[in-house]
């Protein structure tokens, strides 16, 4: 009976099991990054829920703010000739950047949970390859999401920024870069904490309030004094101001350099921390 169920193993598949040299010659770090990135991109295509789920919070906030507050008067320091939708959309893109960044960290935690990390550790694969792949996938996801939000805003809500196409693209590019750098912060958090819940709490407790304590929804000058003080040192203010200045052709472009520098520092620190956290034994 058992012979029916279990045909004798074919030597072909067992071949070279005792070989002196490994059957396959090994792969370079770049190849490993490319293959692992391809793996997660494929999962994203076959399960687009990951991309769409991440869009929920930014899109809900976009609709809530533009619809609920549409009939309210604008605060005194609100820029002239700009609709609230135009004003708030660059901030929505930055919010989306943070949400997407969090998902990069969650993705790494998933890999640790389902055993992929344990598997890769038993293989001649550089530890940094998976981290880099998670970051690159986040870059793609953030780009797709930014495009979706922009198209939705333009076609459904009537977003019509004053900046040119090139400036608009630069503004979007800046938010994608911010997502990339925050992504490394979340990947580092995922590598150290190894659980998804703290990452989600981090996003909820840190990013969500920081968005309100910034120039995201109301000009800083119109915030209460203490909140304005927070907003003035909040890196998100710089990012949002720069993105807004580009898209709407309003003042604030001087915040572009600081926001890029801050993002770059976060990315580098995140990379180092992520690698260190990830190298620890499981």
């Amino acid at each position: 009976m058992t012979t029916q169920l279990t045909p004798a193993p074919r030597p072909a598949a067992l071949r070279a099991a005792a070989g002196e040299a490994p059957v396959f010659g090994g792969s370079s770090l770049l190849t490993q990054i490319r293959i692992l990135t391809g793996r997660s991109l494929r999962a994203m295509v076959t399960d687009p829920g990951i991309v769409l789920f991440g869009l929920i919070q930014p899109v809900v906030i976009l609709f809530v703010l533009t619809q609920v507050f549409s009939k309210m008067g604008m605060p005194p320091h609100f820029p002239e000739g700009v609709t609230y939708l135009d004003y708030v959309l660059p901030a929505i893109l930055v919010d989306n950047a943070a949400q997407s960044a969090m998902q990069s960290g969650v993705g790494l935690v998933e890999d640790q949970k389902n055993g992929m990390v344990a598997r890769l550790r038993s293989l001649p694969v550089h530890p940094g390859a998976l981290l880099a792949a998670r970051s690159l996938v986040g870059l793609v996801r953030a780009t797709v999401q930014v495009l979706i939000i922009m198209v939705l805003a333009i076609t459904v809500l009537g977003y019509s920024p004053n900046g040119g196409v090139a400036e608009l693209a630069l503004s979007a590019g800046l938010t994608v870069f911010i997502s990339f750098s925050l992504g490394w912060a979340f990947i580092a958090a995922g590598a150290w904490l190894r659980r998804a819940e703290p990452l989600q709490n981090l996003a909820l407790i840190v990013i969500f309030p920081l968005m309100f304590a910034s120039s995201a929804y109301v000009p800083v000058a119109d915030l209460p004094g203490w909140l304005a003080a927070v907003a003035n040192v909040n890196p998100l203010t710089y990012a949002i101001d720069a993105s807004r200045a580009l898209a709407l052709d309003v003042p604030g472009l001087d915040h572009a350099i600081p926001s890029v520098v801050i993002s770059a520092v976060i990315a580098v620190v995140g990379m180092v921390a992520a690698l260190r956290g990830f190298r620890r034994p499981l």
Partner: protein, 336 residues
């Protein structure tokens, strides 16, 4: 049964002097501490090329810790270990190129199909697209996964996942294969299939370290066995050697009536045996023997006094006896 057990602690047997070139796995005095907890306490094992070492032990005995150290996932605290001739601390990448690992939990990407899981690992090991595909086909067939190859692994049953996991760990045709409780949760047919595959691999020269709680599995697959308890090797040797430490083989005779036991017992004692009355059935007599040929003498002795046995069974001590005996002894030594 416990009366039979006289467990001397066997000396760690399968340890060969270091420098033996044909030892594919070599651990010398490996100790691993997590803070104050000693997960492994001077563990030494050696596995010659093309053989299987069965690592037996309870949960928490240190089996997985040893596997993690040997597969370079965990640094050791002290001691030395070599796999495929390379040092775990100094040459981990060379080791990773030559080993396969199937852990206690299936390490597969649920979002990918079974085939893509295999292809992914093959590509990471340096296979081209076509070579990776060919390797996947071979392994899918070997593990009877061809029918489900293109389905997402997240939809696989537990048994399918484990088979896929093992297939993935064989992608690089590893010289040394680590199987950490590989048949946990498998149905009997899948387990048999896995055993046959392991036997096939060993025939081809693969060296295997297998951890298991199933004694049947160690008995069937392992050339030598090491029993781990609380981080120490408490016994090592071949299955036969371990059985010999537990007790002798026995012949159990079922007689016509309980009264015959007196006659039979006296006659057997006269012939130099040490019969014991069976506890569960009042008609049985248990006779320890040293060799199988003594069965004939037992029967002859009964014949001479005119007692007939309606049933005669021959019992070998099982690895369960070894396991329980050694575990009892160890528990008595180091109360938890």
């Amino acid at each position: 049964m416990s009366g039979l057990v006289t467990p001397p602690v066997a000396q760690p047997g399968p340890v060969a002097p270091s420098g033996d070139r044909d030892l594919m796995i070599e651990a010398d005095d490996v100790t691993k501490s997590f803070g104050a907890v000693h997960a492994l306490d001077s563990v030494s094992v050696g596995v010659p090329r093309g053989t299987v070492l069965g690592l037996l032990g309870h949960n928490g005995a240190g089996k997985t810790t040893l596997v993690n150290i040997l597969t370079t996932a965990l640094p050791l605290t002290s001691g030395r270990a070599r796999v495929a001739g390379y040092d775990v601390a100094r040459e981990p990448v060379e080791i990773r190129r030559r080993i396969g690992l199937t852990g206690q939990f299936a390490s597969v990407d649920g979002q990918l199909s079974g085939r893509d899981n295999i292809v992914l690992i093959a590509r990471l090991l340096g296979a081209g697209r076509r070579a990776a595909g060919a390797r996947a086909d071979e392994l899918l067939e070997l593990f009877r996964l061809t029918d489900v190859a293109d389905r997402r692994a997240s939809g696989y049953s537990g048994g399918l996942r484990r088979r896929l996991d093992l297939a993935v760990s064989l992608v690089g045709a590893p010289e040394v294969l680590f199987l950490d409780e590989p048949t946990t949760g498998l149905d009997p047919s899948s387990r048999l299939n896995l055993w046959e595959i392991v036997e096939g691999l060993v025939e081809q020269g693969t060296t295997v370290l297998l951890t298991t709680q199933y004694l049947e599995e160690a008995d069937r697959l392992a050339d030598s066995i090491a029993v781990l308890s609380a981080g120490r090797v408490v016994a090592a040797g071949t299955a036969a050697e371990l059985k010999a430490t537990v007790g002798r083989r026995t012949v159990t005779l079922t007689l016509d009536t309980g009264e015959d036991r007196g006659t039979a017992g006296a006659a057997l004692r006269g012939a130099g045996f040490t019969p014991v009355n069976g506890e569960e059935d009042p008609r049985t007599v248990v006779v320890p023997i040293d060799a199988t040929r003594e069965i004939a003498e037992v029967v002859r002795t009964l014949d001479q006094v005119g007692v007939e046995a309606t049933e005669l069974t021959f019992g070998e001590p099982t690895l369960d006896d070894v396991y329980l005996a050694l575990a009892d002894q160890s528990a008595a030594r180091t109360p938890v």
